[in-house]
Structure formats: structure tokens, C-alpha cells
């Protein structure tokens, strides 16, 4: 028997009368399958996932039926459904309810009314399985984003669900944490046999392990096949989703490859070696020599030292840097290397206790308030939401300048002209970033 069966599901939100968010979707999911759901933003992935859990189902017009273990989902008892269907959302922070790690792990079990003994063993089991024991007694507030999302997953797994639904769980994590997280999800699928349904942008990490990939576009399922075959379908349809496929898949089809499509870099390399016996010459990319002495640098940092508190270690230790005018410079480094701190120091949010910062040859502390940010320096923060203060995107831009032509020009560059009348919070992640960039510009 199928684990989930969706029959002709059609759904539209009350606000958009003619546009269907889900259009005649039918789908069968077997027990223990690992399914990737992909598609552009706004293609109905989240809407579909939310239908698989009654308490999260959005309001709107709906027809069609969903069965869970052969019973119509709406007839499944609320308590059973909470325990058996786990749902992990995007935002790692807002999903957490309590203030301590151990309490969060137990939250689901507490809600289900488990007794002490069961809770104790399940919580211990999950803490161990997810490697949480080192930070078991900590406050949730001190965890990193990756740890928080892992905690959300562990807290749901403590209820021993049969199905795990993940809605872009790694979209707010850094690449290393994201890869760790996805590996854990795979481990759950293979070791515990939990059915996994996931939507994800980072396909490279999960494509090789998934059983099925389902591609959605404007509320319809347009492709449903194994990951190995799905690339071909998309390539033949000339679908824009093809560009989101892992690199080996894209290279394979663009080079008119035959046979099985490689999914991992390793398979890709093997295929390349077999296919091209003469090793292709790798053209050297010309690299501009960066002069040590830049005349009139736009920005120069000299021996910056900074720490957040008196007894904490130094974050910046003698940072020196010169950046020429009208150039793009990238600062790279691992987590906690001091990248954001450097940027904050340039903007004067952090005041280094030693060293000098000069913008166009003028020391930062000699700028009068506000002058520094007029046509001189701007910073786009990590979380775009921290910049939005108004209820319309156009008002956001108007807060920065009154010149209408300028606003239109910037909106054009950032491709947000159609979004000008929306509330900033209603935009998708990528759109929010663009709107924030427009505001900063």
C-alpha cells in the first residue's frame, strides 16, 4: 500500500481567484522513499507540502483527496498525524519554541503526553543520534544556524515519525552546515527507513541519493522520474529548471552524452575520462597582478584590531587592506573568520581599538554623522529583513531618496519593478535580497 496517495488535488488561494497554486496534482509515494521536489520559486512546492499535514494546510478552494496509509488524511486523528508526519520549515530560529536544547527536544513528546520514562529514553536516543550531547544543556540562543536546524530535525525525529517533510531546510544555512544537515537527512532515510519528502535548491548534495525527483511548474507536476533520467526530460523540454541540475548532469547533456547520466562529480570525472581520451587542455585564466601599492585607494585599512568584549579573544588581528576605486573585492573565509566584523568596522558599527580606516583618504571617524553613507559607503546586511521598515517596497526606496527617476532606475537594475506595490515580507527570499539591494543603492 502507498504511504501517501494524492488524487487530482487542485487548490487556489482565496486572494488569487483565477490562478491555481496546485493544478490537478496526482502523486503516489511509497514507504521509505526519498523524494526531491524541485521547481522555481512560486511553483507550488510549499503549497503541496503543506497539504500533506492537516494543521498546516492553507485556506482556500480545494478539490481532490489525499490518503495517508490508505485513510483520507482529514480522517486521521490529530494526535496520530502529529506524531507520524514530521514537518521541518525554512526558518531555523522561529521554529524553536523553548529556551533550552533539552526542552526543545522533548517538546513534541510533552505535547503528545508521553510519560517520563519514554521521554527520557527517546530524548537521550535522539541527542546521541544527532550528536547533540555536547550542547544538550545549552541555551538555544547561543546555537549556530546549523545547530538550530539540526535541533528542529531532532525534535521531530524524537516523535518517531513515519514521514519526514522538509521545506527548503537549508536555505538559511551556510554551505558546510547545509551539507551536514542533508547528510543527516539521508542517514535518517537509509538507517531508520523514514520516508523523506524534501524541497531543496542545493541539488548537488541530494540528487545522487534520492529515489525520485519531481519537478513542478505553476502548480503542475511536469516531470516525475529517477534523478538519473530526469535531466534528459528537462533538457529535451528546454526547461529553465535544467540550469538548477547538478553540474555533472548539465555537462553531460550539453555535451550530447550517451548512456547513463553521471550524478556525482566522481561519476562525471569517470565519464569524462572515458569519453575524451585526449585530455583537454585547461586554458589558463589570465590573472591580473594586484599591485601592492595602489594609488588613491577607495578604502584602506591599516592594522585593525578588534574584539567584542573585554575578555573575549580578538576577532580582527592586524587586518590591513587596500581596495582600489571602482573594483569588486571579495573577502573569503570560514565561519567566524571575521569577514562580517571587517565590514562592520568599515561602516563604523564596530569601533576597532587599534588601527586606522580611511575612505577616499579620509579617516572614518572624521566624517560627520551620516556623511559617510552619502555616496560613500553602503552595506547590505546578511538578513534583508532587517532593512525593511515600510509596508510597500516603493515606500522603502522612497525612504532613501525622493528622486523618482533614481528610484525607477534602481528598481529597473534590480528587477523589482513589478514588485513595487507588494509588502516586503511577502516577497520570496531572492526577491527580498534584490529589494534590499535596491534600497541600499
Amino acid at each position: 500500500m502507498e504511504h501517501f496517495k494524492i488524487e487530482n488535488l487542485t487548490f487556489s488561494y482565496p486572494t488569487s481567484k483565477d490562478k491555481k497554486s496546485l493544478d490537478n496534482v496526482s502523486l503516489k509515494i511509497e514507504k521509505g522513499e526519498y523524494i526531491v521536489l524541485c521547481g522555481k520559486s512560486g511553483s507550488g512546492k510549499t503549497t503541496l507540502l503543506r497539504h500533506l499535514k492537516t494543521v498546516l494546510t492553507p485556506h482556500g478552494k480545494r478539490s481532490g483527496e489525499i490518503y495517508f496509509n490508505g485513510i483520507a488524511l482529514k480522517d486521521v486523528k490529530n494526535r496520530d498525524e502529529s506524531a507520524k508526519i514530521g514537518y521541518v520549515m525554512q526558518n531555523p530560529d522561529d521554529q524553536i519554541v523553548t529556551d533550552k536544547v533539552w526542552h526543545e527536544l522533548a517538546f513534541g513528546l510533552e505535547s503528545l503526553g508521553c510519560d517520563q520514562k519514554t521521554m527520557r529514553s527517546r530524548v537521550a536516543e535522539m541527542a546521541c543520534y544527532f550528536g547533540i550531547q555536547d550542547w544538550f544543556h545549552r541555551d538555544v540562543a547561543v546555537l549556530s544556524g546549523g545547530q538550530k536546524q539540526l535541533l528542529n530535525l531532532a525534535s521531530i525525529m524524537a516523535m518517531q515519525p513515519e514521514v519526514l517533510i522538509l521545506d527548503e531546510p537549508t536555505s538559511q544555512l551556510d554551505p558546510i552546515a547545509a551539507s551536514d544537515f542533508l547528510n543527516t537527512v539521508r542517514k535518517i532515510n537509509t538507517e531508520l527507513g523514514t520516508t523523506v519528502i524534501i524541497t531543496e535548491h542545493r541539488l548537488e548534495d541530494i540528487f545522487p541519493y534520492a529515489d525520485r525527483a519531481i519537478v513542478m511548474d505553476s502548480g503542475k507536476i511536469i516531470a516525475d522520474d529517477t534523478p538519473r533520467n530526469i535531466g534528459k526530460l528537462l533538457f529535451e523540454q528546454n526547461n529553465p529548471m535544467f540550469t538548477a541540475m547538478p553540474t555533472p548532469v548539465r555537462v553531460f547533456y550539453n555535451a550530447d552524452g550517451d548512456g547513463d547520466c553521471p550524478l556525482t562529480v566522481r561519476e562525471g570525472r569517470a565519464w569524462l575520462n572515458k569519453e575524451f581520451e585526449i585530455k583537454p587542455q585547461i586554458a589558463e585564466i589570465p590573472c591580473k597582478n594586484i599591485d601592492d601599492d595602489i594609488e588613491n585607494p577607495a578604502l584602506s585599512l591599516k592594522e585593525l584590531w578588534f574584539r567584542y568584549e573585554k575578555d573575549t579573544p580578538d576577532i580582527l588581528r592586524g587586518v590591513s587592506l587596500e581596495i582600489p576605486a571602482s573594483s569588486i573585492t571579495a573577502i573569503v573565509g570560514g565561519n567566524g573568520a571575521g569577514k562580517s566584523t571587517t565590514l562592520k568596522a568599515i561602516c563604523g558599527i564596530c569601533k576597532p581599538y587599534r588601527g586606522k580606516i580611511k575612505v577616499f583618504g579620509k579617516a572614518v571617524n572624521k566624517f560627520k554623522s551620516g556623511e559617510l553613507f552619502k555616496n560613500c559607503v553602503s552595506m547590505l546586511p546578511q538578513d534583508p529583513k532587517s532593512l525593511f521598515v515600510k509596508s510597500k517596497v516603493s515606500d522603502e526606496l522612497a525612504e532613501m531618496t525622493k528622486d523618482k527617476n533614481k528610484i525607477n532606475e534602481v528598481a529597473e537594475t534590480c528587477q523589482i519593478t513589478e514588485l513595487m506595490n507588494n509588502h516586503p515580507y511577502d516577497l520570496s527570499g531572492g526577491e527580498q535580497q534584490r529589494a534590499a539591494l535596491a534600497k541600499v543603492l
Binding site: V55, M89, Q95, V97, S111, G113
Partner: protein, 296 residues
């Protein structure tokens, strides 16, 4: 001190101790007992807070003197008039009573300081979780929300000042107010947005489907039982002596303080012993550690 031996015990034992210490701190007005209270609370406060604690304890001295000197001004009862001012007497008894009030006040502050360090929010909610699960969950969520909001506010202020919309030191009060209001506005909509996700997450984990239970991360160990027993025993002895009048002290209008004699000194020693339990546990741990170290 981070690894305080007393804090590692079951929260119920901690709570029992503080209830005893604080109740008797208020009830026993006998100067010797007050002195014992100040001494014990000061020692334990220092153990919990280290060098920072000394500063707080030293700050208590001016407070102590102030309350002592201030009491006779509002309270004119007492038989021994020291001097008069504006036709009001300033009496010796009121002054001594002031000492007692000040001492009670100071030891209360110190005990509550220790209480805050030992019985953290999570321990408290853990204790009462089974009695009122919803209320304790509410408390837990508030504990989480406050630092969260502060952090977000910092982030917003940082983001705004990095695009030149922050407030400088010189800007007018009106500007500062305006900017503060914007930050609060953003914070509110952000928090509301987040709370939708939180409630989704709660409901999807079965909140409200059955009667809530509460997970106890702490377990009563043998040590916990033994210590609770000792505490109750000591408290019983103290109550016995208090009931027999061994700790009576009256200040107004006439001084009438029961002298410490060979008999009721047992009550005093018991009381001091009770109050020093947390400190003694720490000392015991240090000694034990040193012994086992010397054996290596």
C-alpha cells in the same frame, strides 16, 4: 564560580533551601541570627560570583548605613532619646531597629542574588511544569523571546546605521525618538511574522492534541534525598528553639533581646549550619578534589 556544587543538585532541593533561608531571614530579627544570615549569604554570594561579587557586597555597606540612619527619622518610638531636631526625637531604639531592618534587607538582597544564580528560569519551570504545564510553557517562551528580541533589535540598528539611517551621538532627541520608533515598528512586524511560524511548528508537533506532560531533565538522587532530609531536620530544630523563645528580639519601644545562653546556642549553631550548607558543599568538593589529586 561556574561549577557550583549546590547548583548541581535537584532544583527541588535548591528551592527548599532558599525557602528556609529567606523565611527565617525575615522572621528572625535577633541580631546574632541576622549576623549569621549576612555572613552565610555573603560567603555563598562570593562563591557564586567571584570577584564581581565582592563589588556588590561592598556596595551593600553604604546601603546598610543609609537604612540604619534613616529609620529613626521616620520612626520616633523608643525610650532613649539621643537628640532632638525640629521637635522630633531621634531615639537609640529606633536606631538599633534600623540596624536590624538594614541587616534583613541586605541579607534578603544577597539571598535573592544567589537564588537567581542557582534556580535559573528553566529549573523553576521544570519544578512547576507538572502543576501548570501551560503556564510554565508560557514562561519558557517568554524567557526565549526576550534575548531574541534584543538580538534582533541590535541587528536592525546595525543594519540601519550602515546605510546612514542610524542615529549619531549629536542628533536631536526628536530624531532619536523617531528612529527608535521605526526600530520598534520593524521589530513588532518581525516578531509577528516569526510567531506564525512558531505556532505552526507547535501545532505540527502536536501541541494541544493531548494533555501536556512535562519532561524532567533532573532526577532526585540519593544525595538529594539525604540533603533534603538533613535540611528538614535542621529546620525542625531551628523552629523548636524559635518556638521556645530562644530567638526573641524586640526593639521598640524598649530593647528586649533574649541573651544567648548555653541552651539556646544550639539553636543558633543549627541555624548557621543550615545556612552554610551550599558553601560547605563547595568546600567539600574542593577538599575531595585535592585529596584525590594528591593520590595520583
Amino acid at each position: 564560580m561556574k561549577d557550583d556544587a549546590f547548583s548541581k543538585l535537584h532544583p527541588a532541593v535548591n528551592l527548599l533551601f532558599f525557602i528556609g533561608a529567606i523565611c527565617f531571614g525575615v522572621l528572625l530579627q535577633h541580631p546574632v541570627y541576622l549576623l549569621a544570615g549576612i555572613f552565610a549569604s555573603g560567603v555563598y554570594y562570593f562563591m557564586l560570583n567571584g570577584r564581581k561579587g565582592v563589588k556588590t557586597i561592598l556596595l551593600m555597606i553604604p546601603l546598610f548605613i543609609f537604612i540604619t540612619l534613616f529609620n529613626p527619622i521616620v520612626n520616633t518610638r523608643g525610650v532613649t532619646v539621643l537628640f532632638s531636631y525640629l521637635n522630633r526625637p531621634y531615639t537609640l531604639e529606633a536606631l538599633i531597629y534600623g540596624v536590624a531592618v538594614a541587616a534583613t534587607f541586605v541579607l534578603m538582597l544577597l539571598w535573592f542574588g544567589c537564588y537567581g544564580k542557582v534556580l535559573t528560569g528553566d529549573k523553576f519551570t521544570c519544578l512547576f511544569g507538572n502543576l501548570a504545564p501551560s503556564l510554565s510553557l508560557l514562561l519558557v517562551m517568554v524567557f526565549r523571546m526576550i534575548p531574541n528580541l534584543l538580538q534582533k533589535a541590535k541587528q536592525i540598528i546595525g543594519a540601519r546605521s550602515s546605510i546612514g539611517k542610524g542615529t549619531a551621538e549629536k542628533s536631536s532627541i526628536k530624531d532619536k525618538l523617531g528612529s527608535g520608533m521605526t526600530v520598534i515598528g520593524v521589530l513588532t512586524s518581525w516578531a509577528l511574522e516569526g510567531s506564525i511560524t512558531t505556532s505552526d511548528s507547535m501545532r505540527s508537533r502536536g501541541y494541544g492534541t493531548s494533555k501536556r506532560t512535562s519532561f524532567m531533565v533532573y532526577r532526585m538522587t540519593k544525595t538529594d534525598w539525604i540533603l533534603s532530609f538533613i535540611m528538614l531536620l535542621l529546620l525542625g530544630v531551628v523552629i523548636f528553639f524559635a518556638a521556645n523563645g530562644g530567638m526573641n528580639a524586640e526593639f521598640l519601644p524598649e530593647r528586649n533581646i533574649t541573651p544567648i545562653n548555653g541552651f539556646n546556642i544550639i539553636g543558633f549553631i543549627t541555624y548557621l549550619g543550615y545556612l552554610l550548607i551550599p558553601a560547605a558543599l563547595n568546600v567539600k568538593e574542593v577538599i575531595q578534589w585535592n585529596i584525590s589529586k594528591s593520590k595520583i
